[in-house]
Symmetry: C2
Subunit: 337 residues, 2 copies
């Protein structure tokens, strides 16, 4: 029997993995946002001395992982597995990074939910006694996402108020069976939820029902009230999605307003940075968590965090063929008990 | 300490998951091949009554999973997790299938290695006590892959002799903590290996070094000789890749020729079906394993199988930007001891 499962979709770890190291790199625009001082590195040039946006994203991700290893004095040989992915077709940034690092690699795709998907399976590998050190890492890049999912940058298209701004950023977390650091105590794995939203400029609304579903399931499974957490953080719902999540959870009997925020709203100052509904992308929750939240946990300014990265599982082809946008959200609990 | 790890990259399960059900669906061309009688279902029309190739692939995958559940009298509510992916950008077939089934979902991308990647992480979830029933499933479709990675079908382009034919097919395996069926006893997780091949019409050569690396590592980690296995099966290296693997392993001191075959060569009769170097695609090793091999294990005609699905982690963008093709191979051992 699955002894570590509680409720419907939640795992409670018996030997909670420790996050012994975290590192974040963000682009210039993200570096001008409110979390500026918390990121480990802010790029002066988001081309990273590469010739294409895609190679720049790959280099940013690789540097993030290498720096995360350095911070805890590990080399690729010490790492049992690397888990991660990005938004590019066939995970281009992550695949080439895994090649350069030569660490056994599980490629994951959960759109912008990939950070907590990676943390979830990395934690399973450690808690289950299969690994001692596992890297969970993701990245996104405004310029790669924009031209893959929307329009060439040169097109200069207008963006509606519901649109979000893909974060140029990456985060890497090293989870370990030993050492010290915030612990991953639970994960709640999401189902794909689709309420029929088909507007690709309104991803927040498309992902919000999945986030609400995962958060409600997590609270039911664990029997916890929202105020158990210092913060409940969704990945990149933006202003539109945030309101929907609050409403939907209220409808399910959970008032999370006092502790709730969204990484996509935290990373930019929308009044000055013109990012419309807020930030998005795999790199959004990864950089906000590995940059800002991780340090708050380390200094014990916060003790219990529910991180819920949120993904929209559309493709340009599914949109062209008239499909709506399926959402998914995976939750991971970090505690400093 | 990682008590279940042996050697460099191998996990030995202490409570090996049982493959209690398997189902395979293939397209008409695959149904005319030598494994004809072993597939659970052969499509008369590979459009599956849908209006697009992509939706047809999604329907094939969904039907495969539903039939695999029916075979062992399970419903989606009995399944803890679904793991899988496909070749389409953003895993279109699998994402929409996961939406329709409403099972907690981890999306994976390992190109054509996705079947053993899914089996690996599914086994970890069960052996570690995190789940009782997990689905591992993948699909590929000739017409979706061809137009995404190569040319519009209407273009009728010529194919060089090293080119492979993407299999229209899908396979779903249900792994369980209880019940009976072939057991997954070990997994060996691959690193990304890249020998600099950049010819997208020679994927076999691009993937072969990764396959040789994973097979050699598996044999070293376990201390087993190749003839421990009734069959060592790579996913889709085709004729070109098969020869390279044999050569490379000979160079590493392993002679696997007597027990070695490639699913891409088994699924088509190249002398009659004009598939050039052989079959490829996520669905290739998935359908050959779930259709043919699983039944050989059930009837104990074979007892120990090393399945090594092989993936080429390229994208059209990486190719356009002059990158070579990184390969990866993940191995899973099935035993009927």
């Amino acid at each position: 029997m699955a002894v570590k499962k509680i409720g419907q979709q939640t795992i409670q770890f018996q030997n909670p993995p420790k996050a012994i190291s975290a590192y974040s790199i963000v682009g210039p625009k993200e570096g001008q946002g409110p979390l500026n001082i918390w990121f480990d590195e802010v790029l002066e040039d988001d081309m990273c001395q590469e010739k294409s946006f895609e190679k720049a994203e790959g280099r940013m991700l690789r540097n993030t992982i290498i720096s995360a290893m350095k911070k805890c004095k590990k080399t690729p040989k010490d790492i049992d597995y690397m888990l991660g992915g990005d938004l590019l077709n066939q995970l281009m940034s992550t695949s080439y990074t895994a090649r350069d690092l030569s660490i056994p690699f599980f490629g994951l795709y959960g759109a912008c939910s990939t950070m907590t998907e990676s943390i979830s399976l990395a934690s399973v590998l450690i808690d289950g006694g299969f690994a001692d050190h596992v890297i969970a890492a993701t990245s996104s890049h405004f310029s790669t996402a924009e031209r893959q999912f929307r329009f060439p940058l040169e097109h200069g298209n207008q963006r509606p108020p519901t649109a979000q701004w893909t974060v140029t950023g990456s985060g890497a977390l090293i989870l370990s069976s030993e050492g010290s650091g915030p612990m991953v105590t639970h994960i709640t794995t999401g189902k794909v939820v689709d309420y029929g939203i088909s507007d690709v400029n309104n991803m927040g609304a498309a992902m919000a029902p999945a986030a609400a579903d995962t958060i409600a399931t997590h609270l039911s499974d664990t029997g916890r009230m929202p105020d158990f957490y210092d913060m409940i953080l969704t990945g990149d719902l933006g202003e539109v999605g945030k309101k929907i999540v609050l409403d939907m959870l209220m409808g399910k009997g959970f008032s999370i307003e006092k502790v709730y925020n969204d990484c996509g709203l935290m990373i930019f100052d929308n009044s000055k940075q013109d990012t419309h509904s807020g930030g998005s992308g795999c790199g959004c929750s990864a950089a906000v968590f590995c940059g800002y939240i991780y340090k708050q946990l380390q200094s014990k300014k916060v003790k219990n965090i529910l991180l819920v990265s949120t993904g929209a599982l559309l493709s340009t082809i599914s949109t062209q063929q008239g499909e709506s946008i399926p959402g998914i959200a995976h939750a991971a609990v970090f505690s400093t008990a």
